[in-house]
């Protein structure tokens, strides 16, 4: 007879294989699949995710998990895998199979509908689909919710286990108190940073060359990774030996540079997962917040530092001599850090970025907890942008349609971006005790930083939660003060505030 753990292991192997196939279909859909394929391919995706559902919720799996939970002598890794399997099962066993399948197909369609709506700047054509996505999302959350848990908190916990909206309300109010006055000071101070030279005259072919260079420079391993193009940059992985990132190329050339460093940061996380847990239920980044902490660590904390660019700015000038040969390094670094309230989250500077997230957080809560009329969303969105950022989007494609997430049913996900900023800053202040970032960057020793993160964050996958990682690494629980301190120090210096 097979050993107890082996029975579970071979069932999990089947679920992992199906999930990996689903990841590949999603990747293919976003990067390559022909336009007319979707309805046929979505059928396949529906069947595969039903197959996954069938195994994870099946009796065999239930018995195997229970047997392993009683088993003594399992290793720590095996115990973590059993726990991961239990959680994956509980997420789904409360959802009726028909609804599960319908939702999977709906989401696949919804991404297409969103893509078209965004292109044609037409929120109304997306609203009915969004409504269906929301309705499924709420229904599933109501199945999963425990006791008097809020529906929104259920959604949040899919991406970030140790948090709830009470904690987040407090977090965002701290951010608001820190950022809004700082933004005001910057505006009033009057220092103008010119970043107009970053726009126009940067051929896509050269941007591609730079994107590949940067990914490799921060340590993204092309023997285990791929860089492609898609409308909305993202990272995905089949396992820790196949991690894929995308970017998109625009007139403003720093856009693709920083999106590539960002996605490479996500990629490094997945590449850093240990071999003994990849292809298991704990073999992925532990939460979206920790994922963003890594991507934004590379993009912003490291990637926008002068010391990062010191050794490689010459290469950039060489690529675009007509544009950059008269721009000294210092001016370039100021430009890529310019604070400027704007419409598009992914293009936002590091300071106003969290305000973009706050707006989405407030709207998500209204959608989920207050049943707000979807027709009012574009207006509500514009109002909030005007209030917090002082800019009002004129069309939905630079407003509510800008992000793919809601079409994928990802509610409760956006807060992770802000949490990630805060996690990253907390890690950064701790790491400064052990290493001199400027010196390492100047001497092209990013590997030291990367290896520290691999050792202390990446390798564990889902075996630790975000707050466990913060405690183990920094010796203290989640503390957003570091992020606010980071912003104040950085922007006071850049904008020469008193």
């Amino acid at each position: 007879m097979k050993k107890t753990y082996e029975v579970l292991s071979s069932l999990l192997e089947r679920t992992m294989a199906l999930q990996t196939a689903l990841v590949l279909f999603e990747w293919d859909n976003e990067t390559l699949a022909p336009e007319d394929a979707s309805s046929y391919t979505n059928r396949v995706i529906g069947v595969l995710s039903e197959e996954y559902y069938r195994i994870i919720t099946g009796d065999e799996m239930g018995k195997a998990i229970e047997a392993c939970e009683k088993e003594e002598g399992l290793s720590d890794v095996e115990q973590a895998i059993v726990k991961g399997a239990r959680e994956a099962r509980e997420d789904l066993i409360c959802v009726p199979s028909e609804e599960y399948r319908e939702n999977a197909q709906l989401v696949a369609d919804a991404v297409r509908v969103w893509t078209k709506a965004k292109k044609s700047e037409d929120f109304d054509s997306f609203a009915p689909t969004l409504e269906k996505v929301i309705s499924f999302k709420k229904k599933f959350a109501s199945y999963r919710k425990k006791d008097d848990q809020k529906l929104y908190d259920v959604m949040l916990n899919e991406h970030e286990k140790d948090f709830n909206s009470e904690l987040l309300d407090e977090f965002f109010s701290q951010l608001k108190e820190g950022i809004v006055p700082l933004l005001k000071e910057i505006k009033e101070n009057g220092k103008e940073i010119d970043n107009s030279f970053l726009v126009g005259g940067y051929p896509v072919e050269k941007q591609k060359e730079m994107a590949e260079f940067l990914a490799e420079y921060v340590g993204f391993d092309f023997h285990k990774g791929v860089l492609s193009e898609s409308a909305h940059p993202f990272t995905t992985n089949l396992h820790n030996h196949d991690v894929r990132i995308t970017t998109s190329y625009h007139d403003k050339m720093d856009s693709s540079m920083f999106s590539v460093i960002h996605e490479a940061g996500h990629g490094l996380y997945e590449l850093g997962i240990r071999d003994d847990i990849t292809q298991t239920p704990v073999g992925q980044g532990t939460s979206m917040g920790v994922h963003e902490s890594q991507s934004r660590f590379f993009e912003n904390i490291i990637g926008r530092k002068e010391a990062f660019w010191e050794p490689i700015y010459g290469k950039l000038v060489e690529l675009y001599p007509d544009k950059l040969k008269k721009i000294p390094l210092e001016q370039f670094v100021e430009a890529i850090n310019k604070v400027e309230p704007s419409f598009i989250r992914t293009e936002a500077d590091e300071l106003t970025y969290s305000l973009h997230i706050m707006i989405r957080y407030e709207i998500e809560k209204m959608i989920v907890e207050e049943d707000i009329d979807l027709e009012k969303l574009p207006e509500l969105w514009a109002d909030k942008y005007e209030e917090y950022l002082g800019v009002r989007p004129e069309n939905p494609s630079e407003g509510i349609l800008q992000d793919i997430h809601w079409s994928q049913g990802m509610f409760g996900y956006f807060p992770s971006y802000a949490l990630g900023n805060a996690f990253g800053a907390q890690l950064y202040y701790h790491m400064q005790k052990e290493m001199d970032f400027d010196e390492l960057l100047r001497t092209e020793r990013i590997d030291v930083i990367r290896n520290y993160l691999k050792e202390n964050v990446h390798q564990f996958g889902k075996m630790k939660t975000s707050r466990e990682i913060l405690k183990d690494v920094t010796g203290e629980d989640f503390n957003p003060e570091y992020f606010i301190r980071y912003l104040k120090e950085k922007y006071s210096k850049l904008y020469e505030l008193s």
Copy 2:
């Protein structure tokens, strides 16, 4: 209770989804996947193909097929699907599940091993893997074989149902009798065709532009298709709304042009399958021979005609003015039809091509039926090339390692290439009674030819065998005389033979 047919249909849907996923993994592996991913991804592929095996050989499937076979009132399409399911099941139910899985993983590895061996011109590093592949292939054939069927015929029937080696021996001897004297006449006749201008100075970027143009020109629909790059050009499809072709770019510029027309021919076949049978066991091209008849119809019978190039040669000259502005259309058409015995099958001219196939056919029979020592293969290969084509490959990469097929376990496949030539010629002579090819091509009405093939060949998928198609379309059984007549007429004119 579900209707009998619906039970089968939903089981088949699951097998189709798994097969589609396997196709996508294979596509991804050949075109994009990072180098180090294979051993991890192959695990996934192994599990998915085992999952497929589990369903197709399971009791549920067996009962569903039997129930449908007894059911009255099924439509023709439904009956064909039931029959297809029965055949797919019988192919596998005789193979033990462990062996099935091992073989799937082995083949995935073997392609990687072959790729490296070819690159390093080292047959010895591939031989042990090839030996394993052959051993599985033979074992599976022995499980499948009926009565006193030859093992090689079992392999052949996987790709071409209505044929056996007796028929093929006769076919190849007819070809030999037709081609060898013709080749001799051409050599003795002394007419020299200069095709040296096709080599060198054709930038890859422009070759890509031409490849896309040609695919679209022959009717490959990019709303339902993709063109990518891979080491070895191939066609695959997820269903009839997602068909993918690849090419590779070389110094000799006609190489990518004709490989794209060839693969587009395969692609048109899969795009032409009816909507009501796609994603079912009969929703693919019926046999490799018929597939090759379509690809080589477009590549050679149409694609190398002067009338084909008349309307578009100007575009080619425009792309490469330095190379082609002094080359008149007639000279270009002679060059792309030049007969020249050579090492590489995929680069072979239309006349000597079938000799390349004959060599593989003879060697395959020795491997399968005579247990020949693999170490001797490179030598044997070289001897046969010297005998039939008068050229002797100096290294295995331009000899025995040139083709991917054997690494994939595709024995009994090569004959389809020669059969395809013959099927295509038989169709061509029949179609000439109904249409004027030169006139259609000159006036850019390829759609008439394409639609005829869609109507009479493509749409049926596996619902008719190759010989049934030939009978239904041309009114006679398979007859290789047409192909020999085609070659004689074409090359007598080109080389001005008496």
